[in-house]
């Protein structure tokens, strides 16, 4: 159909001239779409960025971990609960869990707030009392020195591993490895410093910590305590995390003689999975918020295009009449005005996508968010803006095409 193709080409050129020769008006019509599309692209990028950030934090904590807390001691309350409340978990429980199938490590531990001093500076920090496996399980690497090991644990040596934030407060940029830290008037040798990890999803500084062997802590600092606050279990991957969680619950209920179904657990089990799920939920919420805002702004943009085009059709009635008089068919007029709408949609959409991607690049550069530039979101937003333009251009275009040559051309 060369004739039709040729005609469509001429109509496209005509539509382009119609848009290009009314720069101000066309720009205003496309502006709404541009802002809408740019906003969507930027929001998608930022949403992805925050999501990545939380996932990074969760991965830093170890996403394959199950933590068992002694009952009544909430995960974040470890600093403040009194020892009387949490006597349910023992190092023996940890040993039993460690022998369970599907478990790589089961590490008992106690966290508590502690005043420490070194080199004349005194400060409060979180003391983590745990055997050497804790480093593997939590995925720590030494920034300097060597972590304490089995021998130090067995002999209950007075050694500690210091986190970089704590070291910064105590000694500034100087190293503390080889120096001593004083806790409750006893001196502990710093054997290593942790590589930095940053904040956890709750905003706690994972680097403001001081680790020391379990036995050392129990006997020298905690007055011969026998129970622990929590046991961190790392699976070997043969069980799914929630399945592992059930196995752990069964074993602990058995060990704690909770045989009746109506007896409540004297422990709580928490997985990082829940943190991820919470995050996923909030990012879903964010996504639907974006979609809603995007929908409304694109709707408004579409109405803007429609209004501008309706005014245009009214103003250009004589033009439409002349086109009809010199041989335009109804569908030529319809296609002409739809093409004008499409050009507005394409212009607004492309400008918006470019602006959105540009802003996303700037935000990435000047914030600590990291994400891939949302090309596909930009593509989708562009398609949506084309669709919006055509849908909202349809009515004005039909109105233009419905004019009869006489009513359009009649001298007022």
């Amino acid at each position: 159909m060369p004739a039709l193709g040729g005609r469509l080409g001429r109509l496209t050129a005509t539509a382009w001239e119609g848009v290009a020769s009314r720069r101000m008006r066309s720009g205003l019509a496309a502006l709404g779409l541009m802002v809408g599309v740019a906003a969507v692209v930027l929001m998608v990028a930022i949403g992805q960025g925050t999501r990545n950030q939380v996932l990074d934090q969760v991965t830093a904590l170890g996403s394959d971990l199950v933590t068992v807390w002694a009952a009544k001691s909430a995960p974040t309350g470890a600093r403040t609960t009194t020892s009387k409340d949490k006597v349910s978990l023992s190092p023996a429980d940890a040993q039993a869990l460690g022998r369970m199938q599907g478990v790589r490590h089961a590490v008992p531990g106690i966290n508590r707030g502690q005043r420490v001093s070194a080199q004349g500076v005194t400060t409060d920090t979180t003391l983590v009392v745990a055997p050497p496996e804790i480093f593997a399980v939590e995925g720590h690497l030494p920034a300097e020195g060597q972590f304490y090991g089995e021998r130090e644990e067995r002999q209950a040596q007075r050694v500690v591993v210091v986190g970089p934030s704590l070291r910064q407060r105590l000694a500034g940029d100087a190293s503390l490895v080889g120096q001593t830290i004083e806790i409750k008037k006893q001196h502990f040798l710093v054997v290593a410093e942790l590589a930095p990890k940053g904040l956890d999803p709750n905003g706690n500084d994972l680097d403001d910590r001081l680790y020391l062997p379990l036995r050392t802590g129990l006997s020298r600092l905690l007055g011969g305590r026998r129970h622990v606050d929590y046991i961190t279990v790392q699976g070997d991957g043969s069980y799914a995390l929630d399945q592992l969680q059930e196995e752990i619950r069964a074993l602990l209920r058995q060990r704690h003689r909770l045989t009746e179904p109506d007896q409540r657990d004297d422990f709580n089990i928490h997985t990082q999975l829940e943190t991820i799920q919470t995050q996923e939920e909030s990012s879903r919420l964010f996504s639907s918020l974006i979609t809603g805002v995007a929908g409304i702004s694109l709707l408004v943009a579409g109405i803007g295009i429609m209004a501008v085009m309706l005014i245009g059709v009214r103003e250009r009635t004589p033009e439409i009449g002349v086109r009809r008089a010199v041989g335009a068919r109804r569908r030529d007029i319809l296609i002409h005005f739809l093409l004008e709408a499409l050009i507005l949609g394409l212009g607004g959409g492309l400008a918006g996508a470019a602006l959105g991607l540009g802003l996303a690049g700037l935000v990435r550069r000047f914030s600590d968010l990291s994400y891939a530039l949302p090309w596909s979101a930009a593509g989708v937003a562009l398609l949506v803006s084309l669709t919006i333009a055509v849908v909202f251009g349809l009515w004005p275009a039909r109105r233009a095409a419905s004019l009869t040559p006489v009513e359009a051309v009649r001298d007022a």
Binding site: L11, R22, R323, V326, A328
Partner: protein, 246 residues
């Protein structure tokens, strides 16, 4: 070439019906130069719109070159307008954002195929109306007379058989009126084009070989002037323009 028989046109807006044409029989032969005259509201524009296939009669028969056109589809009428007719309107109706040349080429946008020599034909049409030096001016940069001559060029660029003009000189001064009429007379005399124009102006009527008078939707008289006024002579007799004197 045009044969109207018993043409009526009744406008119905809501409950009010306005009869505009009450049975018009009218023939236009090839090479006619006809003015349609009559009081305001007598149906001059209506009959011209029907002849120009811009409007359909309520009743009656219209043969164009022997072919009945009252039953044709909208698209069929559009094609006939595109290839066989040219239109000139009282208020020019040029595209304000396009150059004179672009305006003249407008009919080719809707022709079955775009002629390879379209631009050349556009230039020739503009040359024929004496505007070869105004190709790239926009309507806002042209005088009223020049605008109407661009409109005439647009009407003849497709080389149609008949040119319809509704009050083509209604908005023009005397000189521009003569210029436009001179062009139409030359097209009629040298190229044999049929010209049908509507006018209020008796002086313009005197430049037409045939005058059809309408009253209340009927033809009252249809007269032929053996010696119509020559617009070129009238133009020459005008006192010279300011700019020509300098």
């Amino acid at each position: 070439m045009i044969q109207l028989r018993g043409i009526t046109k009744i406008y119905a807006t809501g409950k009010v019906t306005t009869p505009a044409l009450l049975g018009v029989d009218l023939d236009m032969a090839r090479g006619d130069f006809a003015a349609i005259m009559g009081p305001s509201g007598s149906g001059k524009s209506t009959v011209m719109h029907i002849m120009g296939l811009l409007d359909r009669p309520t009743d009656g028969s219209y043969l164009l070159e022997g072919q009945e056109v009252t039953g044709l589809s909208d698209d069929g009428l559009a094609a006939l307008r595109n290839q066989r007719m040219g239109f000139v309107f009282q208020s020019f109706h040029l595209l304000p954002t396009a150059t004179a040349l672009k305006n003249v080429l407008l009919p080719f946008v809707y022709s079955p195929r775009y002629p390879a020599d379209a631009e050349e034909r556009g230039r020739r049409a503009l040359t024929a109306v004496g505007l070869e030096h105004r190709l790239h001016h926009r309507p806002g940069e042209l005088s009223g007379g020049e605008c109407q001559r661009v409109a005439v060029a647009r009407a003849l660029v497709t080389d149609p058989e008949v040119i319809f003009a509704d009050e083509p000189t209604g908005n023009l001064d005397r000189r521009s009126t003569y210029e436009v009429m001179a062009i139409l007379q030359r097209l009629n005399r040298d190229e044999g084009k049929t010209v049908v124009l509507v006018t209020h102006d008796n002086h313009v009527g005197e430049m037409c070989r045939r005058v059809v008078r309408l009253v209340y939707g009927r033809i009252e008289s249809d007269t032929v002037a053996p010696q119509p006024l020559d617009a070129i002579a009238l133009l020459a007799a005008l006192p010279p323009r300011e700019e020509d004197r300098r």
